[in-house]
Point group: C2
Chain length 245, copies 2
Amino acid sequence: MLSKTGTYKFHIESYTCDFTGKVTLPIIGNFILQAATIHASERNFGYDEMSEGNAAWVLSRLSIQMYEYPGHDRDLIVETWVQDVARFYTQRCFRFLNGENQIIGYARSIWAAIDIQTRRPIDIPSWRPDLNDYVEEEKECPIDKMSKIPSVDDTEPAMGYSVRYSDIDINKHMNSVKYMEHAINVFEPKMFEDKVIHKFEIVYLAEGQFGDKLKLYCSDLSDTEVLIDTKRCDESICRCRIIWK
Amino acid sequence: MLSKTGTYKFHIESYTCDFTGKVTLPIIGNFILQAATIHASERNFGYDEMSEGNAAWVLSRLSIQMYEYPGHDRDLIVETWVQDVARFYTQRCFRFLNGENQIIGYARSIWAAIDIQTRRPIDIPSWRPDLNDYVEEEKECPIDKMSKIPSVDDTEPAMGYSVRYSDIDINKHMNSVKYMEHAINVFEPKMFEDKVIHKFEIVYLAEGQFGDKLKLYCSDLSDTEVLIDTKRCDESICRCRIIWK
C-alpha cells in the first residue's frame, strides 16, 4: 500500500507570477487540484476508477491559508492526505513547503462524490470502504474549519463577466480555479503592493455554464476582510471570503 | 559552447486543457515564451544579462502553426533556435513535437531589444556581436513569413474587457499570452467542437496597462479566416489573424 500522504513538487515559472514576482493564488489552486488528482489516482480512487463506476469527485469547499508565496524560479512542495471520510463527503488537507522545506501554508477541501447521470451524491463509505484505509489521523492541519460564508445582498455589482471558452475546462463546466481568478480581479493593484492574501475561502454552490453572465457583489467586513458573492441573476454560484495581511 | 538549438519538454496537465481535452493555444504560447527564456538564459543573453545591460527583449510578432494539439497527460516538446539577427530585431523559430517525436507544428517570433529607460530599440549586432554565433542556418521553419495584419474598422466591438490583476505579469505590463486568451474568447464553443486553430498570428503594437478598457473588433475574411483587432479607444494595441481548419 502506498503512503497515506502524497508529496508533489512544483516549480514556479515566470508566467505563473503576478506583478510582484510571486506565484498567484489561482496557480496555487491549480497545484492543489493537480496534487489531489494524482494522489487519488495513484491510490485507485482517481478520475479513471470513478468514471468506471459512473461517478465523479466534485469540489465543494476550499480554504487556503498562506504565510509566504514563493517567487519566480523557486519550488513549492504540496503534501496532501485524506483527513476524513463521511457519508456524503471526504475532507482532504494540504500542507505547503518552500524549497528550504519550511512550512508556508495549509489548505482544507471538501469533496462530494456524485453519480454522473443523476448528479446525486453517493454514499462514499458503503460504495468504497477501502477509502478509509487511506485516512491519515496522525497529520494535523492547524487551520480553522470552514465557516459559513453569507450572501452579499448589495444592489450594485463590483464587476461582471461572461463565462467564455477560457473559463471552461476538460470537464465541460466552469473551472473551479477560474472563479478564484475572477474574484481576485475585483481588487486594485495597490492592494497587492501593500498586502498579501493571507486566507482565502470559497464555497461552490452551482455550476457556471458557457455564456452565463455572472456578477460579483462585494462586502467589506473590515479593512482586511472581504466577502465576494458571484451570482447568476439572483442565484449565488460561489462565495468567497478573503482575508488580507 | 552550447548547441544552437534548445529542446524543452512540457507535460500537458488537465487544467491546461480546454473542454475538448486538448492543450489550449495560449498554453502553447506560455511554453513558447518559457522555452525562449530558458534558451536565451542558458546562452548568456537572457533576462539577467539583458537587465545588467539596462536592456530587455520585447516580443513584437508571433506566428504559430499547429497540425495537432496534444491531449491531457501527453508531452509537448519545444525546440527553439535563433534564425536571424538583424539590426533592430532577432527572429527566433520553434518546432513542436509530440511524445512520439512526430512534428506537430512550428512557430516564428520577432523580438526587439529595447533600452529599459528610453524604451528605444538597441542596435543588436553592435551591442552583442556574440549573438551571431548562435544563429542556426541549418534548421528550417517551413511556415510563411509573417504578413501585415490590417486594422479592423468596424463600429461594433465583438467583445470588451478591462485589464485586471490576472492580466498583468512579472514585467508589470499586460502579459503577451493574455491578449491571445482574450482574443480567442470571442469564439463560441461550437467553433472549437468543429474545428481547430490551424494558424495564429499576432502583432503587438502598444502596451496594455492596468485599468485599460479594451475592445475587440472582428472581421471574417472567410468561413475560416478571422481578423481580431484589440483597441484602446481608437488605437490598436494588438492584432491577430486566425485560420481555422
